[in-house]
């Protein structure tokens, strides 16, 4: 197994951080390419409830259904650094990550004291 693949498998289920340190999802799965005889290569990080469908059988499918099924694909080149979290090169919104928080924010912000 390539070193890169080792690294990628080690980050499964880890926290994603954008370039500003915002928590914007987890590494829910990985897209790996490569045919017989070639080296396997990680091409992208997959994140979002839609990805859970392929994990843990009916439990994952149920969770994906509850979660609404959205999924985001972040190309592997966008990974800036892998430490205890996985840091991305740009802002969450550039990838379409953290949309749930962004959609809800205006509603919470209407309540007095939301900036406390």
């Amino acid at each position: 197994m390539s070193e890169e693949l080792d690294l990628a498998l080690a980050i499964l289920d880890h926290q994603l951080l954008d370039c500003e340190g915002r928590r914007c999802g987890n590494v829910d799965d990985l897209a790996i390419e490569g045919g017989p005889g070639e080296g396997a290569e990680v091409v992208a990080i997959l994140s979002g409830p839609g990805v859970w469908r392929s994990r843990s059988g009916w439990l994952g499918r149920l969770a994906a259904w509850v979660g609404g099924g959205g999924r985001v694909r972040v190309p592997w080149d966008e990974v800036a650094e892998v430490e205890s979290h996985v840091r991305l090169k740009r802002k969450a919104t550039d990838y379409g990550l953290g949309r749930g928080d962004d959609r809800l924010r205006p509603w919470i912000a209407r309540i007095p004291g939301a900036d406390r």
Binding site: D13, L59, D101
Partner: protein, 407 residues
């Protein structure tokens, strides 16, 4: 001085050790078996200190709270199962604590219970919305120290100190072995309730801990949980001194406050009730935050009270929804003490899969570098994992066999 910042440990411990279920359980254990079960508290305190120190260290060094590690190490499926169990326990406990707050307020004010439930929910919501995390820690952590009146009460009740000392040596002096085991397992399970580590580790991140704060983490774990254990001793001793052999089974917060009220009069009673109010209020805060931390960490959302309310929207919405659900549960009129006893059933599922990932990550040199577990932490960690497994396997059968401790 930073070394005096021990409010987190005190709040986590007071909320975890002397919440409504434990208050009743400790005094009931004293009323049923005298001082025989004091040693179990010692076992529980050491266990929770070991694991709190470990998860606080992991949080300070790697920035990972407990449910980050659960997701990572248990994987999606097992992690999700743990999450569901943890959330059910946390919500049941939250509802019970809110009920406890309302009972305390009723004892202090004489107003109707259901209105006070509503008042408790609104007050909690406003406090969490408005007050910064470090002040929440201080208010509820230090407010709960009023419970120390039970230690004074325990001394003033002049217990047989020889028997008390004997209680610290494991022994069995009863015909009802099953009931004894039920209380022992219950006390251990309560001492190591999962939400204590959820709250403690996330609280360390809220407080901005880094590897420089590892000393602070150790002091918090030792003093916080040490104090929680000390209060449990005091409660059990008052239970034994007041109620043993009297045919009284203390099952309400009002009866428990007598442990300070009988030896110290009105002032003792008042301090006890105020202490209980802060302790169950603190436990409400522990469980409320824990529920929101767990979900956000498992799903990778932004979280924490160190963000603004609007800065972590789904985290904020989660605790709001939990408060509304808790309101609905307590309003049904369910007995809060019963509710915490049944919460034990679900915590059994969450216990092993909460503690094992902490132990695994604390041993991972890739994250922890030179702060990995030493030999002592690992030996104790493994021993307590075995104890936790035993508790998990025996809790439900013992509950059924003893009819929830009713004999």
């Amino acid at each position: 001085m930073k070394i005096f910042q021990i409010a987190l440990g005190i709040l986590a411990a007071i909320g975890g050790f002397v919440d409504i279920g434990d208050l009743v359980f400790n005094v009931a254990a004293g009323a049923t078996f005298g001082y025989q079960l004091l040693w179990v508290i010692v076992v529980g305190v050491i266990g929770i200190i070991v694991y709190s120190e470990m998860c606080g260290r992991v949080a300070a060094v790697s920035g990972k709270a407990v449910f980050d590690t659960v997701r990572e190490r248990a994987g999606f499926g097992a992690g999700l199962t743990t999450l569901v169990a943890a959330q059910i326990v946390t919500l049941m406990t939250l509802a019970a604590e809110v009920g406890g707050v309302a009972i305390c307020l009723r004892l202090l004010s004489g107003l109707p219970y259901r209105w006070l439930i509503l008042a408790a929910i609104v007050a909690l919501g406003v406090i969490v919305w408005v007050v910064a995390f470090e002040w929440i820690e201080r208010i509820f952590g230090y407010g709960g120290l009023c419970l120390l009146v039970f230690a004074v009460g325990a001394v003033k009740l002049h217990p047989d100190w020889g028997a008390v000392a004997h209680g610290y040596v494991p022994h069995l002096d009863t015909n009802d072995t099953l009931l004894y085991c039920y209380f022992a397992v219950g006390l251990l399970g309560a001492a190591m309730t999962p939400y204590e580590v959820y709250f403690y580790s996330s609280g360390g991140i809220e407080d901005g801990w880094t590897p420089k704060d590892l000393g602070l983490n150790r002091v918090n774990a030792l003093i916080g949980y040490g104090l929680g254990g000390f209060l449990s001793f005091a409660l059990m001793i008052t239970g034994g001194a007041l109620f043993l052999g009297q045919g009284i089974e203390p099952s309400s917060l009002g009866t428990i406050a007598l442990g300070a009220g009988v030896p110290l009069g009105q002032i003792g009673l008042l301090l006890a009730l105020v202490g209980i109010l802060f302790a169950v209020g603190g436990a409400s805060i522990d469980t409320l935050f824990s529920g929101a931390y767990n979900l956000a960490q498992f799903l990778g959302w932004e979280w924490g009270r160190y963000r603004t309310n609007a800065g972590a929207p789904r985290f904020t919405l989660t605790w709001m929804v939990m408060l509304v659900l808790a309101l609905a549960i307590v309003m049904t009129g369910v007995d809060p003490v019963m509710l915490t006893e049944y919460a034990v059933i679900f915590s059994v599922v969450a216990l092993p899969l909460t503690y094992l990932p902490i132990l695994l990550v604390a041993n991972d040199r890739a994250y922890m570098g030179r702060y990995v577990n030493g030999r002592l932490s690992n030996v104790l960690g493994v021993v307590y994992l075995v104890i936790i497994l035993l508790v998990s396997l025996t809790a439900i059968p013992l509950m059924i066999l003893t009819n929830v401790g009713q004999g």
